[in-house]
Every structure is written in structure tokens, then in C-alpha cells.
């Protein structure tokens, strides 16, 4: 999840060039919990943007796990004429940072017991959070491949073998040990890889807005009034992301 920039809670004071009758600042700290008879609570500099993920190093994955995920990403989103592959797009970096945060530890979800087996209509009832799911799941995949694919890691299989494995995993045909549900695991991984591919690049994936360029999504733009009536016409502007744009630099 987005790492949060600290809110600026300072009261504004205007510094004067001389001892001037300059006025005290805006409303009090936003975190105050009781408001009576004032302007809308507002604090200058208050903002809570996502912090740009910087690639380099793994915060959650081991090297081996990262290799596996990168290889999976490159099969789910193979490099071709339409776009770079999932690995180059940074899907594994994205997922690594997510698993190191509140997505990984399910801190937003309801995790009280008892954990009972449920119907498909009742959603996930397991006790494992995504961090645990990935730890167990990737280990189970490694174990399976060691036993069934001549001791090779997923990243070392040929692309065809990788595709075949993933296809079987998706179909529920792979029996993984440790009671890991292969089909469910596949769905979790697929969802995450796709998120990493299509999310704003600020989160570490979708490098250079590759997916958005591929499909023609203009990204973080906010005003389309001048194009709405141009039925069937391609939108002429390139995508932009939440982070600062390269074409904002002086040339």
C-alpha cells in the first residue's frame, strides 16, 4: 500500500519583513477530533501522496522467490511487439513492495477467528495473509518442480514448460504439498501481476507507463471536456502518471 508522506501539521505564520501586523495562520491541526463553528479544517502543505517506489533490492522476496515471480510475470505478460514483459515492467518489484506493506499483512482485513471452511460465495476464509500465501505457495511450487521437473527451478524451465505448468496450475491440475491450493494460488498471483502491470508507475510496476501506452489509457489526466464529443477519435495526448513527468523537464 502507499507509503504515506507525513502530513504537515504546522500552523502557518507569516514572516514579515519588519514587525508588521501580519496574521496568524489557518485552522488548527487536521487530526484534532472536535470541530466547532469554524472554517472547514484545512492545513497548509497537507497532502498524503503515494511515495515513489524505488527499484533495487527486495524488501519481502528472497532472491529465489523474486526470480520465480519475475519469470512468472514474463509468462503471464510476455515481452512482444505490443509491450515489454512483466519482468521488465517491474511487476515483481511492485508485488514485493505490496507484500512488505499492509496488503501483505492483511492489516485492513477482518482476521478474527474462528477460521472455518466456507462456500465459494463466502470468500476467502483462510488464516494466511498474502505474505504467508506467497511464502508457502512459492516454496510449494519449488518443491513440486524439484520433484517433477528434474530439480529445476521455475525460472530455469523453458518458456513452453513454464506456460504448461502455469496452465495446469490455473486449471487446478497441480497437486501442491502443504495443502496449498494451486488454483487459488494462481489466481492470487495473476491478480497481483496484472495490478503491477496496470497500476500507476509510482508503485514500482508499469515501467514508463508501458501498459497504458499499449492500450491507450491516458493515465492521471483529469479533464476530457474538449474530447468527449469527438466520437471515435483517438485521444491525442500521451499518458501521464502521478509522479513527476519526464516531459516536464526543460530541454
Amino acid at each position: 500500500m502507499s507509503e504515506l508522506c507525513p502530513k504537515r501539521l504546522s500552523r502557518r505564520r507569516f514572516l514579515s519583513s519588519v514587525a508588521l501586523t501580519v496574521l496568524a495562520g489557518s485552522a488548527g491541526p487536521v487530526l484534532a477530533r472536535s470541530y466547532v463553528g469554524g472554517n472547514l479544517p484545512w492545513t497548509s502543505y497537507a497532502a498524503d501522496p503515494p511515495r515513489q517506489v524505488m527499484p533495487g533490492g527486495w524488501k519481502f522476496f528472497t532472491e529465489q522467490e523474486a526470480r520465480t515471480i519475475e519469470a512468472i510475470a514474463d509468462r503471464m505478460i510476455p515481452p512482444d511487439g505490443l509491450s515489454i514483459g512483466g519482468k521488465e515492467a517491474g511487476c515483481a518489484v511492485y508485488l514485493d513492495r505490496q507484500l512488505a506493506g499492509s496488503y501483505g499483512n492483511s492489516s485492513r482485513l477482518y482476521t478474527q477467528g474462528p477460521f472455518l471452511p466456507g462456500l465459494p460465495t463466502q470468500g476467502y476464509q483462510g488464516a494466511d495473509n498474502p505474505a504467508q500465501i506467497y511464502r508457502k505457495g512459492l516454496a510449494a511450487i519449488d518443491t513440486y518442480l524439484k520433484q517433477n521437473k528434474g530439480g529445476k527451478a521455475f525460472a530455469d524451465l523453458s518458456p513452453n514448460e513454464q506456460d504448461a505448468f502455469l496452465t495446469d496450475l490455473e486449471a487446478g491440475k497441480i497437486k501442491l504439498d502443504n495443502d496449498v491450493d494451486g488454483k487459488a494460488l494462481f489466481n492470487v498471483i495473476l491478480g497481483s501481476i496484472m495490478e503491477g502491470f496496470f497500476a500507476d508507475p509510482v508503485y514500482g510496476g508499469n515501467k514508463d507507463m508501458a501498459s497504458w501506452k499499449m492500450i491507450g489509457f491516458p493515465g492521471a489526466r483529469y479533464d476530457y471536456r474538449d474530447h468527449v464529443s469527438k466520437f471515435n477519435e483517438t485521444y491525442p495526448h500521451p499518458p501521464i502518471s502521478i509522479a513527476s513527468q519526464p516531459f516536464w523537464a526543460e530541454k
Binding site: 463553528g37 484545512w42 492545513t43 477482518y110 483529469y222
Partner: protein, 588 residues
């Protein structure tokens, strides 16, 4: 040790749409009003900063603005033969949180229910005979469409709804919805500039003899100053509407329509990050004496008040009534008791049409920019030859092109790999979608109560939802899906793909956050929880305001009706209740 606070005239639980409307109205009356909101303060420039509000992962997928299940979850099952389990993450519906509530991040479809909804039992009995809806627990609401009309008008003008009226003072208006009830005057703003997909949809619908009209929208078509003197902006069609706050003051919410005036009042106080645990009753059990709440330091407080207004969202309203021991809980076996009764949802189905030669620019969108066909909604058509009651609006309102979630591919396409990618790149801009939003009628077995096993972080039992789609509703939905296929054929794409509603309500994929009922309004205290003014039958200084009051759900979004009911309650409190506080407004 519970700390006892100084008394207030009115305590309002929750500061969303209904809380803000009631707070404004009652402070205008001179009352000393306190609103207690579980979530945080939310303000446009800070929390919906135009530089980072366009974040699909954060707001659309991780749902930063919504109620987090850790704070409050609910359990669900389809019927009594199942054991309810917690929705550990919300899916099918997504309750809101914080100041402004879900009104911050809704889409903005703003409807009026019809007289044939408010008097549904009488109406259907007259037209078809009671046997037609055997097995459904339909009830009249205790108000008529005509009585509701001025209050709908009030909400629509507060919010700056952009649309074209279909029936003004009995005269059908070209370009509007010919099936709607008569209204006194048009919407405050004209319809929005229409985008491509809904325009094509409307053409196809017209070819079939249907009557498409622009969806009444709380995304404003023009700059506007509402009756409170608050300025709102013109929607810029950004495509980050539902699940997102609006960065430029152009989506109606408590923030954009009420709060700048309300927060200024010396007789209004807001406490945020404070959760109400229960409503406390006096020794007789007939009057509320205040509420008990907890703040983020886990301190417990008793807030005495002369009136309590439950404005916490329909589902939370019902849960708080049950937790507070107010009223008789509904028993699905006997059908007795009223609290939790007539829980309803929404019966939706979808349609995709794939083209080779069109570019819909799906990212040019707003939450309510689209076209609706009401020809098959409610009782707008003669049900004599079909075996169900109710109906659905068919809506072509493509709200976004946000690619994590919105990247349709033709059926049979693999979900990954080179073929997936090629299909996605081709279909992203050349696919249009529309859907049916159908009525949801009550049954004896669909209800709300407290879960026997699972509890929240304070140890209070979670709300348990027992719900499945009645056969009636599925037949209705199938029928409308057939009509959607007719439209798909008329559109003439390469192929189309419909998703029909099936038995076994699945709590995982998102469908709708239109949870209604559980504290319904009516004329009989045995089968309703509040009277026509939303005053609780059992506790006269308690009003319960929200879609919890709906005796059934129509094929329409609830917010317009919720807003109108809030104004009805406010009006009743100001003009009737305060003359004789504590007395019931309607004799049981």
C-alpha cells in the same frame, strides 16, 4: 470508567449524506447538534488532491476511502441452512467511511422511486391480484409519490442534479423519462455532454421503440450555486468517479453541498474518529437518553442528548438498533418482529458488446454520464403475460476505463499470455458495456440479525446478512437480460456477451452497495421499525434515517430517495416533533 459529557439537544450518529442534511436543518432550527463520526475528517483539497486522486490501485482496488473490514466486518449466508461466515474483505458491496460517507465516492445516479413503489402492495394487488406476488413480503411504505415529490425536489436542488425531467406537472417531456411520476419542475441543471457509447446505446434503444433518456446525474453539467449559497463546479469527465473523491468540487456530496456552511455554525459540533457503541435507553426503555462512544484512545464516553438520529448507513443503523436492544428482532421462521425485516439488495446483470471498428475512449467518463431505459423497470410495463413482478432499469453508463479492473476481452480469451495481451489491446477501447439494475423484493427468509459467533474489535457481534435472490427476481432479471440482448443485436457489434444473475448470491465479486431495509418504514409497528417520518415506533426520540427505511428496493439507485427521506424527517422534526418532543408523531 465512562466519562459523562455535557448534554446536547441532538446527537447524530454518522456524518454522511443523511447526517449532514439533518445537522444543517436542525441547526437552522436553533438546536445544539453534535455529530459523531467513526471515520476521519475528509476535505477536497487535502484528501482528493488533484495530483494523486487518480490512483486506481489505492482508491479503486485497496479502497482507501472505504470502511475497512478490520474496523467492522459482516457475516453472510444465503439461507438458514448455511452457517454465516465473515466477509473478511468486502466484495459484493463496499460500505463507506469518514465524513461524507459513501457520498464522497459514489457515482451519482440520482433517482426518484415511483408511487407504484411507495404503494407497491396496494398497486400490484389492484393491477394483478395478490397471488401475483405470492412468496414476496411486499408492503406499502406509508407515503405516496405525491407526498415525496417536494422532498425529492429539495434534494435534487441541494445537489445540483443534472438531467432532463420526463413529466412536469403531468405533461410528458420530450427527451426525458416518460415513465416517471409527475414533478413540479425540471432538474436544476441540464444533462451532461453525452459520450460515445451511451449515444450509440440510445440510438439502438430508440430503434427498438424504447425511450432512452440521460441518467440523472450528481456529476454536475455546469457550475452551480445551491440553495445554501455553496458553489460547485463543472464535471471534467475524468473517469475517476466511483470509489474516488472528486478533486474539483463537481460531484455532489456533503463536502460540496453542505459542510462549508454547516461547519461554520456555532451550534454544530463534529467529533471524528469516534465510534458509537450503542444507544442508551432510559429505565422505561421508551426514550433514548444518549449514546455511548469510544474515541481512538479507547476512552469511553456517554453523550447525553434529547434526541438521537441514526444516520450511520442502512446496515449500521440496523446493527446499532439490535446492539442497543431497541425493537423486536425479526425472526425469519415465524416472520415476527421488525428489526432486520425486509432486507433487500439489487438484482443486476451485464452485457458487453465487442466491436472491431469503434473507439469509445472509455476513460472519458463520469459516474453518472450515460443513458437509461426504464421501459422494463418497476411496473412500467404490463406484467400480465410474465410470471414475475418488478423490473430493471437498463443503464449504459460506462463510468471508467481504469485498466486494472476495466479491460474487457471476448469470452474464451485466455487470462494471460500473448493472446490475452493482443485481445486486451484490441478490445480496451472498442468494447461497450451496459447493465440492468433490477428491483429486489423482500422475502421471509432474507433478513438481518446479529451473528452468534463473530464479533468486532470491541467484542460486539457482527451484523449477519441472510440473503439470496428470490426466484421472482431472477425471472425478472432473465427477462430484462433478454431485452438487453435485443439491444446488443441492434447495436451490431462483432459479438456480444451477457452475464446473467444466478441463484446463490456471491459475496465476492462487486455488484452493488445498495443494501436496503432492516429498519423499514410503514404504517404498522408489527411489520415496520419507523413510521412515515422515520421516527422509531418504540423509542420516540429516536429517528432512523437511511435506506434501512426502504420496505423494498426498486430498480434504481437509492441515494435520491435516501436524501428525500432525510428531508422528510427533518421537516417532521422541525414542524411537528419539536412542538411536543418525545411524543409519537403517528399513533400506532
Amino acid at each position: 470508567m465512562t466519562k459523562i459529557l455535557p448534554r446536547k439537544d441532538v446527537v447524530i450518529v454518522g456524518l454522511g449524506w443523511t447526517g449532514a442534511i439533518l445537522a444543517h436543518e436542525l441547526t437552522e432550527q436553533g438546536l445544539d447538534v453534535l455529530a459523531i463520526e467513526r471515520g476521519p475528517w475528509r476535505d477536497t483539497a487535502t484528501d482528493f488532491n488533484i495530483g494523486y486522486v487518480q490512483d486506481e490501485l489505492r482508491y479503486g482496488i485497496r479502497r482507501d476511502l472505504f470502511l475497512q473490514p478490520r474496523v467492522e466486518a459482516m457475516t453472510m449466508r444465503n439461507n438458514l441452512s448455511q452457517t454465516a461466515l465473515p466477509m473478511r474483505d468486502y466484495g459484493s458491496f463496499l460500505p463507506g467511511n469518514g465524513v461524507g460517507g459513501a457520498g464522497v465516492h459514489w457515482n451519482g445516479h440520482t433517482w426518484r422511486f415511483w408511487d407504484s413503489d411507495f404503494r407497491i402492495k396496494s398497486h400490484l394487488t389492484e393491477r394483478y391480484g395478490a397471488a401475483k406476488f405470492d412468496g414476496l413480503q411486499l408492503q406499502d411504505w406509508g407515503v405516496t409519490g405525491e407526498e415525496m415529490e417536494p422532498f425529492y425536489d429539495k434534494f435534487e436542488y441541494l445537489a445540483g442534479i443534472s438531467g432532463k425531467a420526463g413529466n412536469i406537472k403531468g405533461r410528458i417531456q420530450e427527451g426525458g423519462n416518460p415513465f416517471e411520476d409527475s414533478r413540479a419542475r425540471d432538474y436544476p441543471l441540464p444533462p451532461m455532454q453525452m459520450s460515445y457509447a451511451p449515444s450509440l446505446f440510445a440510438d439502438a434503444a430508440r430503434k427498438l421503440g424504447y425511450h432512452p433518456f440521460p441518467t440523472p446525474s450528481a456529476n454536475l453539467s455546469k457550475a452551480y450555486i445551491n440553495p445554501l449559497g455553496i458553489a460547485m463546479g463543472e464535471c471534467t469527465l475524468c473517469g475517476f468517479c466511483e470509489r474516488f473523491g472528486c478533486a474539483n468540487y463537481s460531484k455532489a456530496s456533503a463536502q460540496t453541498t453542505i459542510l462549508p456552511v454547516l461547519m461554520k455554525k456555532k451550534n454544530f459540533e463534529l467529533r471524528t474518529d469516534s465510534e458509537v457503541l450503542r444507544i442508551d435507553l432510559d429505565g422505561s426503555g421508551k426514550m433514548a437518553k444518549g449514546v455511548t462512544y469510544v474515541d481512538t484512545s479507547d476512552e469511553e464516553y456517554f453523550q447525553p442528548a434529547d434526541m438521537v438520529l441514526l444516520c450511520a448507513y442502512g446496515l449500521h443503523n440496523v446493527r446499532l438498533l439490535l446492539l442497543s436492544g431497541i425493537g423486536k428482532p425479526y425472526d425469519p421462521n415465524s416472520g415476527e418482529g421488525a428489526v432486520g425485516r425486509n432486507y433487500c439488495y439489487q438484482t443486476n446483470a451485464g452485457m458487453q458488446v465487442f466491436f472491431d471498428d469503434k473507439n469509445f475512449n472509455p476513460f472519458i467518463a463520469s459516474g453518472a454520464l450515460g443513458q437509461t431505459v426504464d421501459d422494463f423497470n418497476g411496473d412500467a410495463f404490463d406484467h400480465g403475460s410474465v410470471n414475475f413482478v418488478g423490473g430493471a432499469g437498463i443503464n449504459c453508463i460506462p463510468t471508467n476505463g481504469r485498466p486494472i479492473a476495466m479491460r474487457p476481452v471476448p469470452p474464451g480469451t485466455p487470462r494471460w499470455g500473448a493472446k490475452w495481451k493482443a485481445a486486451t489491446a484490441q478490445a480496451y477501447k472498442s468494447t461497450m458495456t451496459y447493465s440492468s439494475q433490477g428491483s429486489s423484493y423482500p422475502t421471509q427468509g432474507n433478513y438481518l440479525d446479529l451473528d452468534p459467533t463473530y464479533s468486532d474489535r470491541f467484542g460486539r457481534p457482527l451484523l449477519r446478512i441472510t440473503f439470496d435472490f428470490p426466484d421472482n427476481d431472477l425471472k425478472m432479471s432473465d427477462y430484462v437480460s433478454d431485452r438487453m440482448e435485443d439491444i446488443a443485436k441492434a447495436l451490431g457489434g462483432r459479438q456480444y456477451n451477457g452475464a446473467r444473475r444466478k441463484k446463490g448470491w456471491d459475496s465476492v465479486p462487486y455488484q452493488s452497495t445498495h443494501n436496503t431495509g432492516g429498519a423499514i418504514m410503514g404504517t404498522d409497528p408489527k411489520t415496520s421499525v419507523v413510521n412515515r417520518y422515520l421516527q422509531n415506533w418504540d423509542v420516540s426520540n429516536l429517528f432512523v434515517i437511511g435506506a434501512s427505511a426502504f420496505a423494498h428496493n426498486a430498480g434504481k439507485n437509492p441515494t435520491g430517495t435516501v436524501g428525500a427521506l432525510a428531508f422528510i424527517a427533518a421537516d417532521a422534526i422541525r414542524t411537528k416533533y419539536l412542538r411536543n418532543p418525545g411524543a409519537p408523531l403517528v399513533s400506532a
